[in-house]
């Protein structure tokens, strides 16, 4: 099976004053279509940096990255924006919903970016808000929702455009264990039912436990790769 996402010798160096801090040191990573992959590791291990690079919101200092068969390292911003808009959904640790928009409008936003017709938009938003169990709370703004509900809205927002890849950075960091389980079950079922590829950065055992594959990282290197499920 061809790799959906393939990173070869990925290096990321951040300048810090006059010195340079290497966050990734020539990492090779491959993710297949439909996989639920977790990048695990302690703080500073480079998992979020690798996740950001896989999500095309950060560039590489050296190395090559292939997304859905095409090389993406060094592409101009306009092209990266187009790939992200069509093919990648994001779930963030702090949910990052737009506070002035309702749950419905937050989920609808990616479809507006894709100029989806209004009828289809409504259909899709309804489908995913129902899928995350929040259709009844569609008129609520993020401040009126609990943390777990906000993260479910964020998941619906990430999935509504039916992306090829969902990037989730510490999605359970601000949730209690009950909400974490609910969120992970939701992501897991979406992964199985819709075949969407998930890459998650986390050190939460519940999240790691749900992964098809765990990529363990330490000091900017892959420590070991193990099939968990």
């Amino acid at each position: 099976m061809a790799d959906f996402l393939n990173g070869v010798g990925i290096t990321k160096i951040y300048p810090l004053g006059k010195t340079e801090v290497p966050a990734l040191r020539g990492v090779d990573v491959a993710v297949q279509q439909g996989e639920f992959t977790v990048f695990a590791g302690p703080s500073g291990s480079g998992k979020t940096t690798l996740l950001n690079i896989c999500g095309l919101i950060d560039g590489v200092s050296a190395g090559q990255l292939f997304f859905d068969g095409g090389a993406v390292a060094g592409l101009p911003d306009r092209q990266l924006v187009n790939i992200r808009r069509r093919s990648i959904g994001f779930v963030f640790q702090n949910f990052n919903l737009v506070p002035v928009q309702t749950a419905y409008e937050n989920v609808e936003f990616p479809l507006l970016l894709l100029n989806t017709r209004s009828g289809q938009r409504r259909e899709m938003v309804e489908k995913y808000l129902k899928r995350v169990g929040l259709w009844d709370r569609r008129r609520h703004k993020p401040a009126q929702l609990s943390g777990g509900e906000q993260q479910r809205v964020a998941i619906a927002r990430a999935l509504v455009k039916q992306p090829k890849l969902v990037i989730a950075d510490e999605p359970s960091a601000n949730l209690d264990s009950q909400n974490t389980r609910a969120i992970i079950e939701l992501m897991d079922s979406l992964n199985r039912e819709e075949g969407i590829t998930f890459i998650v950065a986390s050190h939460d055992p519940i999240v790691i436990g749900a992964a098809h594959r765990v990529v363990r990282m330490r000091d900017g290197l892959i420590d070991g790769q193990a099939a968990e499920n």
């Binding site: 950001n52 999500g55 919101i57 950060d58 911003d77 306009r78 924006v81 187009n82 992200r84 808009r85 069509r86 990648i88 959904g89 994001f90 963030f92 702090n94 990052n96 737009v98 506070p99 002035v100 928009q101 936003f109 990616p110 507006l112 970016l113 927002r157």
Partner: protein
Amino acid sequence: MIAKLSIKNIWRNKRRTLITMAVITIGVSMLCLAMAYVEFVKWGYGESIIHGQTGHFHVLNRDLLHKEEDKILSYGISDWRELAAKIKKDPRVSVVSPRINFFGLCSTGEKSTAVMAQAVLPASEIDMGGDYINADPLKKLLNEPEGILLGRLLAKSLQVKEGGEVTVLTTTATGAMNGYDFKVVGTVNTGIEEMDKRFAMVSLPTAQALLASQKVERLTVTLRDTNDLNETLSDWQKRLPSGITAQSWKEVFPDFVKTMNFFNGMIGFVLPVLMLIVWFSTMNTILMSLMERSAEFATLRAMGTSKWRMFRMLVAEGAWIGLLGVILGVLIEIGLAYLINHAGIMMPAPPGATEGYLLNVRNATGIFTFVGPVTLIVVILSTIIPARRIFKLNIVRALRNG
């Protein structure tokens, strides 16, 4: 999408938005009010000069503009009746009033003083003045062809009252001395103290007898509508007989232009000061908004929103604040203008004048179509500068810091 989201975004920090909007609103309303006051002065002062003194334009001998007269009426108009009748036929013309201005000595027998006399046809002057002048003294002059109206302070100086007699001595058109006894029929208040000390008005036929000439110095032409001035003046400059020219009231009364330049200078000073305040206030709001929402902007960018779309959204936020501020400012100004115009506020007499005036403001469409767009442009420009930062937004860093 941009319009909808940006209007929602401006209400995130209501207090800050309202403060910025208040700055714009106050700036717009005060600027419009100041300009409306200048417009009133321009209109009121202009119309009072036109109807009380100058008419819309003067028809006179070209030489009178460039040469000194050897004798009174040397450069007068002989066939003025025919010319006046011809001008009067123009449907845009309301009144044609002949005049002679001359200097003389006014004496009661016990006291004498120099006067600047104006000879007029009282009926024409009443028509010309309309509602802008107090026609009572002119009516008295109309009923008494050998009467004289004296400036308020001139009458006081000569210690003469209505019904009294004065003699006016002057040189005739042939250079001889002549005198005429006039009956004082009233006093006039020109509104200017220095004029009130020297001014006298007599009937034209009597003055012509005194000056031993049938000529007049000039014809004062008053139009039905001031807006027709430029076109009518231009027409008549082409149609007047050789040697005769026409002069706009602003040339006859250059102080008006100076006064307006003074007021325009004040507006020219106030405008940039207010716009500078608007500029910094809006820029501060957008800058704060950018800093506070950097994680959100990063999220939207990650989701595939282009830099240009984000930039347009920020500029739209500034534009909304500006637009609402301008609309509110205009509405408040209209309300204030109504209150001022109905409050009956008397203003003190300007320097050199003897009477105060009723404070009024005059809203003109041009004020709003100037101040509104200028303010909006300033607001949008002041938004563009901080909004450009969106092009340099580092998604990862902004997400980490947010």
